[in-house]
Each structure stands twice: as structure tokens, then as C-alpha cells.
């Protein structure tokens, strides 16, 4: 299979599935579910095939990289504005693609609990998958933006129609927040487009060309980079989410149905991190370095803040949602620990920054696995007793021992226990942070105490104790085979990533090493421009 | 003293015209009004004929006045029919009562 066919198929197989689903009889719910599951499985295998073709040693995608054997394909789309249908994978997107298709597979398997308007749900779900995969594959800013928006709408309906009691509020909140971010991104995108002819070439939306331009000494103006970075960062920070743009998350998570929560936590939050690392950083190296301290500070604050907020929750799902805020803080820190010499602009301890970015990427994957698992665990109990009040659980260890065992494993992964996935990402990020800023590193490290606090306290309230205190005690039946399979799959990957992190780090490291080098070159070139720019300003 | 000239005809026409107008304005009887109309028309006819005679209009004045006479006859027929109908409906031919088209 040619790369373009393979990549296009990955993106549009779910759409095709959604289209075919439309012809199903409305009452054939079981058949539709099985069909949709088959589509997600097919997509997962296609990404695996892509993984087979993928060569990690080729490094970061670069302009003209297809000649170097990188997986890039280009077709003209709207030639008038130089918009291209450009797809590609490297060490940044490959792991996330695998994560996405895998999480979708699990979430689809968890969708048997959806009883209402199954057809519409499945169609929207598959469209959502198309959007997510498209975001991770597209290399043209315009295409990226289109997929980004494609993702938004199904999500809005999935929360708004299949959600809990306050679904309208949550859906609108999610929509408004995300749309605000999209608008900022759109502005930045147009800024880049209209400045992309600075070297006398045509204007482009091509991310690789733009990155090349940003690296070039006369490419993009430093001030433009700063402005654009702020716009892009806010846009992506909303998705991440980082304090103070995070309040859509608890509401959306609480109201969304379980599978959608899994997708939200498992994949959608990663888009923020991916956007920063794929777009914001390479397109504005100067802006990124300029804002690095703020990023690390926001990350550190999010960790502590999210952990504290999680501790105070009585809603099980809200607690998990806030834990996401806390965990994604590490992603932000890891990416931004870009220490430079204040006067010369030279990189200090570049390997630590590389480690930080690797840690951040790994943390995204780990969080994708563990938080999707945690939401699933909450969903299992919610399906049975229809409430999530932490103070009205207890004693589940006796009633549902297997469930408790799997849940404990997944929650410990979230807690950052060594041997499970959460540990590697967190610890690598924290270790790399001291090189950048001692105080913020210490603050970030303090998260380990709070995380242990709220997770163990939650476990104590839900699973331990003599008896179940809430309503519907008769409904506490053991997990069924499908649920066991999902939880075991999550736990398996949590252990695999925790014990052998090189399976992912090995894929990412060459790419990220290239990325740090490119960024540093871009920064130094832009930095050289700065005195010139100020002179011009003073002359005026 | 000259013979009867244009001015005398015009004077007669004017008298007829004014008499007709006054008749139209003062008579409440529809027949009277019609008679006023006839007077006005004939006043005009006098003028046409006079101008035809004293100026170089030729036969044009006479022809127009013939038209007017024919039209007046037709008009009188229609008007009388209206008056008759009006009377049938309202048992009067007082034009002041005929204000159905009032704005």
C-alpha cells in the first residue's frame, strides 16, 4: 500500500464507516455496534501497519523530507491559496496515532453502555475519530485547522445529546472554550500565511515550509513570533488544559458519557500538547524561548492546583478530571525546560531539555492510557449504581474484587508508581526541570505528595471499608467479559510502558533530538535580529 | 361701435361657463347639476366656435364642438342612468347624500 493511500485510509476509514452506518436499520443496534467496532479495529490495524512502515531513525519531518525517505505525501488541494493535502508521520505523531486508534478501539468497546439513539452516536463517534487522526497526520496548517474543527462538532453533540444531567451546559462550555481557542489559532494561522512570503516565495500554509522559514535568519519577524506564539499557546493550552483555561474540562468530563470521557482524556487533551510541539514551537522558536518560563510556571502551577482541586472533589469523575489537569502540567513543563545562556543565547544542558521533551511526550502517552482507564473504571461503577458520590461508595473490594484489583492497578498508574506508565513521564520531566529553574522544579516535584494523597484517599473511600453505603447495592455485579478485556488491555499497556519505556522513547527520541536542534538554530537566528529590529523602531 | 366681435362671443361663453359652474356648485338636485354641466360644456363650445371663426383654426373648432356635443349627450345619458339608479337606491337625487366615496 502506498503511503498516501495508507494514510488517507487511516483518516477516512471511520468516515466511510459512518457513511455506511447511515444505511443500517435503526433497530439493528447490535449489528451497528459490532460494525463500528470492526471499523475502529480496522483503523487500529492500519495504524499498526503505518507503524511497520515507519522508520524512527529518519527523525523530524522537514521540508523536502520526502526525498530523504520520510513519510510525507503531498497533493494539491486548493491551489489558488497554496493549500495542500499534506500528510506525514514522524516520532512525534506516530505514538499519538497509535494511542488515538487504540483509545478509540477501547472507547468503542466501552460504548455498549450507550442505549440511546445508537446510530447517531456511532456515526458521530466515527466522525470524531476521523477528525482526531486527521489532526495528527496533517502537515498543512489549513488542513490541520479543518480537522481540528471537524473534531469539535461531533464532540459537542456527543456531550450535548448523550451526556448527563447538565449536558447542555457542559457542551456549550466545551464548545465555547474550544472555539475561542480555534479563533486564536486561526488568527495566528493567517498571520503566518501573510508573512510567509518574506523570502520572496509564494505564501504557504505548509507547516514544514513555515518551520523552515522560522528557522531562517530573515524568515519570520521575532515580534510576530512572540504574538503568534501567545495566540497559539492560548489556543492549545485550552485543549491541554492548563490553568486558568481548564474549567471546561471537569464539566465536560462529568457530563460526557464514559466512552467519550475516555476519548476526551485519552486523546483530545493530547492535541494541545501535540499542537504546541508540532506548530507553536517550530513556527515560533523565538516566541517559545521568550515564553518558556511562563510555560514552565503555568505547568508547575497546574500540577499543584489540579492536585489540590482533585482532593476536594466528591464526584468521582470530577476527581479524575482534575487529576488530568494536574498530570498535563508535566507535559507543559517538559516541553519548555529550554535553558539558554542569558547573554550569548547558547543552549545550556541541551540533553536535559531533550529529556524533558521526551518526558513530556511520554507523559502524554502515559496519561492517555491511565486516564482513559480511570474514566473507564468510574464508568463501570456508574453504569451499575448510577451515582458518583465518593462518600457513598465503600466496600467495593469485597463486592467486586477483580474490578478493585484492576482499578487499583490503573489508579496506581495515575499515581505515578514505578513499573507503571505514569512514573516515567513524570519523573523524567521533573528530573530535567532542575536544569531550567530550581524553584519550579521543586514545586513540580511536590506534586507527588498531593497526587498520592488524593488517589489513595479516593481508593480508600471507594474500594475499602466494610460495606457499600450508597444506593442500588443490589446492582453491584462483577465486571462482564467485555469490561474485563478493556481494563486488562489498559493495565497491560500501563505496565508495558512503565517497565519498558524504550518502546515509545526509542520511537520519539531521534525526532525530538532533531526538533531541539532546529529550535535552537531558529532561536539564535531570530535573536540576532533583535538589535536590528529595535534600531529600526528607534529610527522611526 | 363695432359689430359683434370675438370678445362678445367670449363674454357670452364666459357667462355661460360661470352660470354652469354656479349651477353645479349650488344645485343639490342631480338633474340641476347635469344642467350646469351642459351649460359649462356649451360655454366652452361657444368659445371653440368663436375661435374657429375669428382665427385661422379653420374647421377644427367646429369639429371639437361637435365632439363635445356628442360627448355631452353620451354623458347626459350615462349621468341620467346613474341618477336614476341612485334614486332607486336612495329615493333621492340629492347629490349631497351621495357621499359613499368619502375618504
Amino acid at each position: 500500500m502506498t503511503p498516501i493511500l495508507l494514510m488517507s485510509l487511516i483518516i477516512f476509514l471511520p468516515t466511510l464507516g459512518a457513511f455506511l452506518l447511515a444505511w443500517f436499520d435503526k433497530k439493528a443496534e447490535e449489528a451497528m455496534r459490532v460494525f463500528a467496532l470492526a471499523i475502529t479495529i480496522g483503523t487500529f490495524f492500519l495504524t499498526l501497519q503505518l507503524y511497520g512502515v515507519f522508520d524512527a531513525s529518519k527523525g523530524l519531518l522537514t521540508d523536502g523530507g520526502e526525498n530523504l525517505g520520510q513519510l510525507i505525501v503531498t497533493e494539491p488541494w486548493i491551489p489558488h491559496w497554496n493549500i495542500e493535502y499534506k500528510l506525514g508521520v514522524d516520532g512525534i505523531s506516530m505514538p499519538l496515532l497509535l494511542l488515538t486508534s487504540f483509545t478509540c478501539l477501547l472507547a468503542m468497546a466501552a460504548s455498549w453502555s450507550i442505549k440511546k439513539q445508537v446510530k447517531g452516536y456511532l456515526i458521530l463517534f466515527l466522525l470524531l475519530e476521523t477528525g482526531m487522526l486527521g489532526v495528527f497526520l496533517s502537515l498543512d496548517f489549513f488542513l490541520f485547522y479543518v480537522f481540528w474543527e471537524v473534531m469539535l462538532l461531533p464532540m459537542y453533540f456527543l456531550i450535548g445529546v448523550w451526556g448527563g444531567p447538565r449536558k447542555e451546559y457542559a457542551a456549550i462550555k466545551f464548545f465555547l472554550y474550544t472555539l475561542a481557542g480555534s479563533v486564536l489559532m486561526l488568527i495566528a494561522m493567517l498571520m503566518f500565511y501573510f508573512d510567509s512570503d518574506s523570502l520572496g516565495n509564494d505564501r504557504v500554509f505548509d507547516l514544514l515550509r513555515l518551520a523552515q522559514l522560522a528557522k531562517h535568519a530573515d524568515g519570520l519577524d521575532p515580534v510576530l513570533q512572540q504574538t503568534a506564539f501567545v495566540l497559539l499557546f492560548i489556543g492549545f493550552a485550552i485543549k491541554l488544559p492548563a490553568f486558568p483555561f481548564h474549567t471546561w474540562l471537569p464539566d465536560a468530563h462529568v457530563e460526557a458519557p464514559t466512552p467519550i470521557s475516555m476519548i476526551l482524556a485519552g486523546v483530545l487533551l493530547k492535541m494541545g500538547g501535540y499542537g504546541i510541539i508540532r506548530i507553536a514551537f517550530p513556527l515560533c522558536p523565538y516566541g517559545a524561548q521568550w515564553a518558556a518560563w511562563a510555560l514552565v510556571a503555568i505547568g508547575a502551577f497546574s500540577i499543584i492546583y489540579g492536585a489540590f482541586a482533585a482532593m476536594a472533589q466528591t464526584d468521582f469523575k470530577r476527581l479524575v478530571a482534575y487529576s488530568s489537569v494536574s498530570h498535563m502540567g508535566y507535559v507543559l513543563i517538559g516541553m519548555a525546560v529550554w535553558a539558554i545562556h542569558a547573554e550569548t543565547g547558547e543552549l545550556i544542558g541541551g540533553d536535559y531539555w531533550l529529556m524533558g521533551i521526551n518526558g513530556a511526550m511520554f507523559q502524554m502517552l502515559a496519561h492517555g492510557v491511565s486516564s482513559a482507564g480511570m474514566f473507564f473504571i468510574v464508568g463501570v461503577i456508574y453504569d451499575r449504581v448510577h451515582h458518583r458520590d465518593l462518600n457513598k461508595f465503600g466496600g467495593l473490594a469485597g463486592k467486586m474484587p477483580l474490578y478493585t484489583g484492576l482499578a487499583a492497578g490503573i489508579f496506581f498508574a495515575g499515581l505515578g508508581l514505578p513499573g507503571l506508565c505514569g512514573f516515567i513521564g513524570e519523573v523524567f520531566v521533573v528530573l530535567s526541570a532542575w536544569n531550567y529553574d530550581k524553584l519550579l522544579a521543586i514545586i513540580a516535584a511536590a506534586g507527588v505528595i498531593l497526587t498520592a494523597g488524593y488517589i489513595l484517599w479516593a481508593i480508600q473511600r471507594v474500594f475499602l471499608g466494610p460495606e457499600y453505603k450508597g444506593p442500588h447495592p443490589e446492582a453491584l455485579s462483577p465486571m462482564n467479559g467485555r469490561e474485563i478485556a478493556i481494563a486488562v488491555a489498559v493495565l497491560f499497556f500501563a505496565v508495558l510502558l512503565g517497565v519498558y519505556p524504550m518502546c515509545m522513547l526509542g520511537m520519539m527520541e531521534p525526532t525530538l533530538a532533531d526538533l531541539t536542534k532546529e529550535l535552537q538554530i531558529g532561536y539564535e537566528n531570530a535573536r540576532d535580529l533583535i538589535p536590528v529590529a529595535t534600531e529600526v523602531l528607534t529610527e522611526k | 361701435m363695432e359689430g359683434v366681435g370675438l370678445n362678445d362671443y367670449l363674454l357670452v361663453g364666459a357667462v355661460l361657463f360661470v352660470a354652469g359652474v354656479v349651477c353645479m356648485a349650488t344645485k343639490r338636485n342631480a338633474i340641476g347639476v347635469l344642467m350646469g354641466v351642459e351649460l359649462v360644456l356649451n360655454g366652452a363650445n361657444v368659445n371653440f366656435v368663436a375661435f374657429a371663426h375669428y382665427t385661422s383654426l379653420g374647421l377644427d373648432g367646429q369639429i371639437v364642438s361637435l365632439f363635445v356635443i356628442v360627448l355631452a349627450a353620451a354623458e347626459a345619458a350615462v349621468a341620467l342612468a346613474i341618477a336614476l339608479n341612485f334614486y332607486n337606491n336612495h329615493l333621492t337625487i340629492d347629490v349631497d347624500k351621495a357621499n359613499d366615496l368619502q375618504g
Binding site: L176, F308, V427, A452, Y500 | A25, V95, Q102
Partner: protein
Amino acid sequence: MSFETLTQEIDCTRETLKWLLTVAWLLPLFGFVVEVFGGYWGDRKCKYASYFAVFCIASGFICSSAAMIVWQDKTEWGERSAASSGHGAVAHAAAEHTEAVGNHEYQMPTSFTGSFYSLGKFGDLEVSLDYYIDSLTLVMFVMVTLIATCIHLFAIGYMRDELTDDYVDHQVHTSDGGHFHRPGRFYRFFSYMSLFSFSMLGLVLAGNIFQVFIFWELVGICSYLLIGFYVERKSASTAANKAFIMNRVGDFGFLIGLMVLWTYFGTFSFVTVDQTGQSDGGLFYMVRGHDGELQVDEEANAVTLHTNSEVPQQIPYYLLVVAGLGIFAGCIGKSAQFPLQTWLPDAMEGPTPVSALVHSATMVAAGVYLAGRFFPMFTPEVLLTIAYVGCITLFLAATIAVVATDIKRVLAYSTISQLGYMMLGIGVFGWGAGLFHLITHAFFKSLMFLASGSVIVGCHHEQEMPKMGGLWRKMPVTAFTMLIGVIAISGLAIPGSQLLFGEILAFSGFHSKDAIVASAMTFVSVNPVHFLLYIVPLVTAGITAFYMFRLWFYTFVGEPRDKEIHDHAQESPWIMILPLIVLSVFAAGVAVGGESGQLFKLLGDSEPIGVAAGTTDAGMIGLNLPGHAAIHQHHASAGVQALLVAFAGAVIAFLFYGARVVDPAEIKRNLGGLHNFLVEKWRFDELYDVMFVRPVHVIAAGCTWFDRTIIDGVLHGTVKIAIWMSGWHRRFDEGIVDGLVNLVGNSTFAFGRSLRVFQTGQLRQYIMFIAVGVLTLFVLLFIAFPK
């Protein structure tokens, strides 16, 4: 021996040791997996899980012993310690040592390092799973596996009432007033125990500090699982949480230490050893080099590191202190030192075999082990901190132990106190003494815990000592083995026996504690300012003897206090007695020969370079650190003093509780305030509750409030403003834009309407209008165009 054959031999030895220890390490993990799955789907009444666990850990013991034999056989391990601890010639020890290295250029090293696999590689930085094998590793392996095997065996008997489908937990009440019923969890207990052993062994085998941290956390989670084994009991789950979170507080410090080390050293490995047995990298080498001295750059106030690179690498001195203190903070948490000691007594909620394991060979031992392992990285300032923390802890715990009445709690506090001794030993430069005590303590403390477990089972789960007494008639073996443990921990010996036998006849505790007291005494003699570091442990030695004998007299001697319990008490079955006997043999004899015995020599081989010689005026605070020779001089007098104090304690205990000539209740009444203060554990729990737990909850609530009120408030406010604005929008649309259009329409309409008045329907009027109009037009025409 030629270079090639030596290299081959080293490789061969390293691989042998590596695989033996790896098997010993991984077998319990395998056991865990098998037991946890097999047990879940298996029969609740079947004992296979325990047999499998015992098989795994016992095989581990055999492998470790084999490794120990291989190591002893292949290496010339005695040479270095013999060379460096020679009496009188200590000042030249370092010189001699280097000379020795020079002479035996091709010498078999006594430590072996290598790597399992890499966790992540970033440029020059690499995080990997390594192993580091030296005599300390081996001693710990043998000790841990031996004690764990004994405890596993004991637990087969102790946990036998879990072998049922319907276990009744008498301590848990359901809402309908009955007792709690559940299936037995025999298998699960053993699977946790296996995981625990695996974690501890991994920690000991670890070749870098990061790997230590990994297993450090795993040990923590295992203790969480085991302390909270009775998940239904609120007290148990709370204690488990407390243990884990307290440990995490320490780990926070640990993490800071790791960050500093990682940033300034770029490596985590302790030491890497090259083919010729010379260290050529790793943290210890970078800090200490080959001679054990810190290279302090006075001007930059930094320590210059030994590296092979051209560019000199430095670490600020204060950061080296921070790193040391950070790592030690981890040790504080794990070894329950002041101020994080409060979790350990609560950890008694777990089944007794767990307490035995936690308190002797694993978990708490890990802290001391790490402090010993990481010793080369500690600056004098850190050592002094360690010494004082140990000193405070040992006294504090001992005072609480005096008033505790729960048999397990007395032992728990004695553990904390003894750990304090070990820390003190390490802190006062008595490296060997501290670790020596770690090993001996592991044996006698596990012995005593198992004995207390035997008592508890015998008394049908009664733990309060005031309800016991006179039990030695009922359970003689338990009483006897317990007595061995008590004598060992108290540090009693037969005075004057060295005149007859050439050496003092005493159980293990005497030798190790004697070593610590001697180290402390020497330390104080060269640093008189820190006199408390000698006085407090000496006094506490007496207190230790007092409360331990109090425990024994209370439990086993005199008239039974509770007739019913006494009548039903019985000796435990052989499977519980056997481990007691084995352990009592080791508790008595493991330290035979004291500091010239095998064990101490073995440990001495791993002693960091430079400890033997000692230094003067070290660090920024100018501390004098005594070497072996100095300590040896004070040995005899320290031993006599410690022995006297211990005897005094034992005699007082006998008077109070054995002979009962003094009434303890009388004293309790007279010192009521103090007694309460001690019973309430110096009120640390209340203090922490007020200082940390409540503020955390307040902050947490504050964060939620902030989210809900401020951020969402801003959001909702924005939405409201938007709605309000759109209201005005609507008004503008409706008022201005629509108004204009309507105005045009309306005015046209109104104008038309105003014309209506002329449409009177009066025919005659119309004619008047026409006439007047025409006239007017004419008049106007004439005015406008007058000819």
C-alpha cells in the same frame, strides 16, 4: 595472573553473580504473578499459594547464598579491609591502599557493576536499570531472603484462619450490628509478601540511585497493600494511606536530591568499575575520586568532580549538601525517623508477619541501607544532620515505648529507636557500626515480632500486655526465643567473659550497639560540642533494656492478669515455632566475634574509601570525623558503659514487672502529665493534623472554590455580558434601524391620511375646489408670468 585471564575471570564471576542474584530477585515477582492469578481463580482453602511463595523466596535464599559463596571464593575480599583497618597504621591506610593497588595491578575487584537495560537515552544522558554487587549487596540479599523465608513459613501458620470461604472479621461491624464476613484472602497475603520481597531485593541490587528510587516506591506500595491488608478496617486503610503518604513526603526530598544529582552529575550510577577493577565513573567516583577526599574549590565554593573529560565539572557545595539532605529525607520517610516517624506504629494494623517483614529486613531497613550505600555522597553537614536525626529519633521512640501497652506497638517503637541508632552510627562516621546493627537488628527484631505474633495467636488475637502475664508456662518456646531477642536488643553480655574465652560472650545486639556507642563516643571526643550525640544514646540504651524486659516480664512472667486468656493460651504449631528457633540462632550468633567477626569484616569490605582513615576539620562546619583507629581506642570504655546502663535498665524492669516490688501504677499517677504526653506519642499526630492535613484540605477546598467562583465566575460573567450586549444589539436593531424604515412608511401614510379630509364626498364642494383651484392657478399664473 595475566590480564586476559583476569578479564575473563572477572566477566565470568560477574555474570555468575548477576544471574544468581537476578534469579533470586525475579523469582518472587514470578511468584506474585502466579499467586495473585492462581489464587483468584483457585480455591480459597488451598495452601499452594503459600508453598509457592516459600519456594520462591527460599530459592532466592539459596541463590543468594550461592552468590555469596562464589563471591567469597573468587575475590580476595579480606585484603582491603585488612589493609585499611590495621591498628595503629591507619594514618597510612590510604597510602597503603593505593600501594596495594599498585602492587596487585591485576587484582580481582570486590564489586561488580553492569547494566540490565536502558529506560531512556537522551544524548549523553542515560537512565537504565543497573546492578551493583559488592559485599553489602550480598549480605543484604542473604539476610533479606533468609528472614523473609522464615517469615513466610511463620505466616503459613499465622494466616491459617484466612483459609476459609467465610472469614469473620471481629473488628469490623456492619450496619446491621453483626460482624463482617468475607472470603479468606490467604493467597493474596502471600502474593503481596512475594511482591514485597521482590521490591526489596530490587532495591538492594540496584546499581543506580534512580533505580533505588523505583524500588523504593514499590516497597512503599507493597507496604501500603500489606498494612491495609484488612481493607474493611477503617483504621487499617487509614494507616496504609498514612504510611504511603508519609513515605511520599520523604520521597519528595528524595526526588529533589535526584534532580540535583542528575543535573550536576549527569549520571545516576553509584560507581562503574572497569575491567581492571578500578572505578572510573559514577557518582561516588566523581565526588570522591580514588582517595575519598572531596576536592573543594574554596573560591567558587564548589566541589570539583573527578571526570575523564577535559572541561572541569563542578557542583556548588550547598547543592551537594541539598542532594545529600534530599536523599536522606527519603531515608527519613522510609526508616520512620523523626519527624516522619508517626506512620510506623500505625502500620501495626497489618498482620504480624507483615510487621515482622516491614520492621526488620525490608522497608525500614531500606532507609538505613540507602544511607549506608550513599554514604560517599554525604558531606559532613549531612552526616551531622543524620546523626542528630537519629539521636532525636532513638530517644523519642524509646520514651514512647516505655508507656506503650500493645505488645506490637512496643516493638514498633523499639524498631524506630533502633533505626535511630543505626542512623546515628552512620552519622558519626561509624559506617560499619550502623550497617552492622542493621543486620543484627533485622534478625532479632524479626524474631521478636514473630514471637509476639505467636503470643497473639496463642492468646486469640489479644495484643494488650496488661491482659497477659505468666505465659511462659503455656508457650515455653516462644518465651525462650523471645528472651533471646530481648537480651540481644538490650545489648547484654556476660561481663568478664573475655578474660575466660578471649572474647565477650554476648548476643548479636551487644556487638553492634557497642560499635555504635563506641563510634558516638569517639565522635564526641573529637567534637565535644556535640556531646548529646553520646549521652542520649547511652541513656537510651538503658531505656531500651528497660522497656524490652518490661515487655518480656509483662507477657511471660508472674501471675496471669486475665484468667480467661491465660487458660485458652497455647503454644503455636511447629510451622510457627521453627522459624522462631532458626531466627533465634541467628539473633544470638550472627555477630559472633564482634568487630573481628566474619559479618563485620564482610561489611567492611564495602566500606567507602576514606572512612577508615577519618578526616579532620571536614566540610564547611569543620567537623572532625574519626577513623577506625580512634574508634578502636574508645571501644573498651564505651562497651563497659553501655553494658552498665543496659544492666541497670534490665534490673529496673525486673524490679517493676518481674519481681513486682515497685508498683508502676504509683509512678504513673505521680507523673500523670508526662505519662499522657508519652501515651499520646508526643502529640505528633495532632500536630501534623493541624499543621498539614487540615491546611491541605482547606487549600483544596479553596482551589475548588476558585475554580467554581472565580474562573467560572469570570466565564459566566463574560457570557452574561455577552447576553446583555446582545440585548442592546437587539434594541439598536429594533429601535434605530427598524425605526428609520418605519418612519418612512409611517410618514407617507400619515401624509396620505391628512389628505383624506379633502375627500368629503360633497360633489358641490369638489366643484368649488375645482373652480377656486383653477382661479387660483390663473391668478398665480398671471402673477408669475405677467406678460
